[in-house]
Amino acid sequence: MLIINDLNVHYGGIHALRGISIDVPDNKIVSLIGANGAGKSTTLRSIMGIVKSTSGEIIYKDNDISKSKTKDIVEHGLALVPEGRRIFPDLTVVENLTLGAYWRKDKQGIQKDMNWVFELFPILKEREWQKAGTMSGGEQQMLAVGRALMTKPQLLAMDEPSLGLAPLIVKDIFNIIKEIHSQGVTILLVEQNAKAALEISDYGYVLETGSVALEGEGKKLLNDDQVRKAYLGEAI
C-alpha cells in the first residue's frame, strides 16, 4: 500500500533521514521504533508532505506522493495523528471532528464516521461541546485520533499515541488501534512503548540515526536480543 524507497530528508544541514526504505502492506499494522532523534517523526511527516524529502520515493497505491501537497495526500486516504496531539484548543470537540472531515462532501458518511468515533471514544460524546484545550491529556489524545479518523483514512499513521498517558489508558489506546485496524484501516505506528507496539504489529522497523537498523516481523523483533536490550530495557 505504501512503499518508501531510499528516502533522504535534510533539515538545513542536518541529514535526518539517510536512505530509509519501508514497506507498509495493505491491511497490516507496521511499527517504527527507535531512540529519540532517530527520525521516526520525520518519516511520518515526510509521508504527509509536511517536510519535503531531498531524494527518494514515497509510493502510495502506485503513485509517487513525495512531491504532493499535504491536502492532496490526505484526500488520497492518508492521515497522521501528529506528535503532541495538536488538537485545536479553542475549538469544541465537535468542531475539531468536523474539521477532520473538512474536505469531504458525503454528509451521511461524515455523520456515520462521527458516530463511529463517539462509539470508540464515548468520553468525546460526553464532552461534545467542551473546548478541546480544556480537556485532559488522554481525552485530547483520543480527540486527535478521532479527528484523524474523520478524514476517512485508508492508512492511519500515529506518532506516539501513548505518550504521557496513564498505563490504564495506554492499554485502551492500543485496544482502540486494534479496533480501528479491524475496520480495514492500515496502521503505521511510531511508539516509544516498543513492547506494546510490537505485540500488536505484523511487522516492525528499528530506526537508528536516520537509517533502518533492523526489521522483521513484530514477534521476531520482540525476541531479538539487540531490540530487547536497547528498546525494551531488558537485561540480557
Binding site: M48, I50, T70, K71, V74, E75, A79, L80, P82, R86, I87, F88, P89, D90, L91, E95, T98, L99, G100, Y102, W103, R147, A148, T151
Partner: protein, 297 residues
Amino acid sequence: MEIKEFLQHLVNGISLGSLYALLAIGYTLVYGILRLINFAHGDIFMISTYAGFYLMSSAILPWWIAFLLAIILTCILGILVEKAAYRPLRDAPRISLLISSIGMSYLIENLAIVFFGGRPKTFPIPAIFDRIITIGSVKIPTLSFIIPVITIIILAILLHIVHNTKTGMAMRAVSTDYEAARLMAIDVNKIITFTFAVGSTLAAVGGIMWGMKYPSLIPLMGVMPGIKCFIAAVVGGIGNIRGAVLGGFILGLGEIMLVAFMPALSGYRDAFAFILLIFILLAKPTGLMGKNLAEKV
C-alpha cells in the same frame, strides 16, 4: 450640556466608533492568522475611498453600483497585497513580514500621491445619505443612522461566518496551528487569502462611509485612522473580533466625548487613543477581551 446636545454627540461617537470597529477588525483578523501587524491596512482603507470617489465622479454608474465596485476593487487589492508582500515570506522570520508590510504601506501611499495627487478631493455624497432627520429637537443626518446599522449587519454576518461555517472553523484552526490544519486537508493559503479578502472588504465598507462622513480625501488619510484602529484592536485584545469592535467603540465614543466635554483639550483628540493604549497596556496587557496567548514566534 443639554441633553439634546449630548445625544448629538452620542450619535456622532457611535458613528465614528462603528467606522473604527470596521477597520480594527481587519487588523485583528490578519494578526490572528499571520501574527502580523498589517501596516498597509490603513492604506487599503484609503484606496477604497478614492475608488469610491472616482467611480462616483464618473457619474455614469448609480451610486450603489459605484460603491459595490469600489468595495470589490479594494477586496482584490487586499488579496494582491497578501500575495505579493506576505505569501513569499510564509516561512521567513516575522520581522521580515513586518518590514514588508511597512514597505507595502509606503508604496501604496506614494503611488496614491502620484496618481491621485496631493490636493484634497471631495467625496461626492449620494443625495439619499445627505438628508437630515429631526427627532424631537435633535437633528441627525441619515448617515449617522446608516453607519451603525450597516456595521451591525456586517458584524453579524462576520460572526456567523467565523463561528458557524466550515470556512470560519478553518480560519480559527489555521490561526492556532498551520500544520495541524494542513493535516485536515485545509488549504492554508486559501484561508489566509479569504481572511485578507474579508478584512479588506470591511475596510472598504468603512472607507466609503468614512468618505461620506468626512468627505475630504488625501493620500495619507489612512495613516491616522490606521494607527488608531490598530490601537483599538490591541485595546480590545488583538486576535479577538468582539474585542476589536469594543475597542473601536471605546475609541470613537471617547474621542468625541473628550472634545465635547472638554473643548479645551480638543487639540489632544488624536492623543486620546495613545493615552488609552498606555493605560490598557499597563492594566491588562492582553487587552480587554484578550486571553493570555503564548507568543507565537
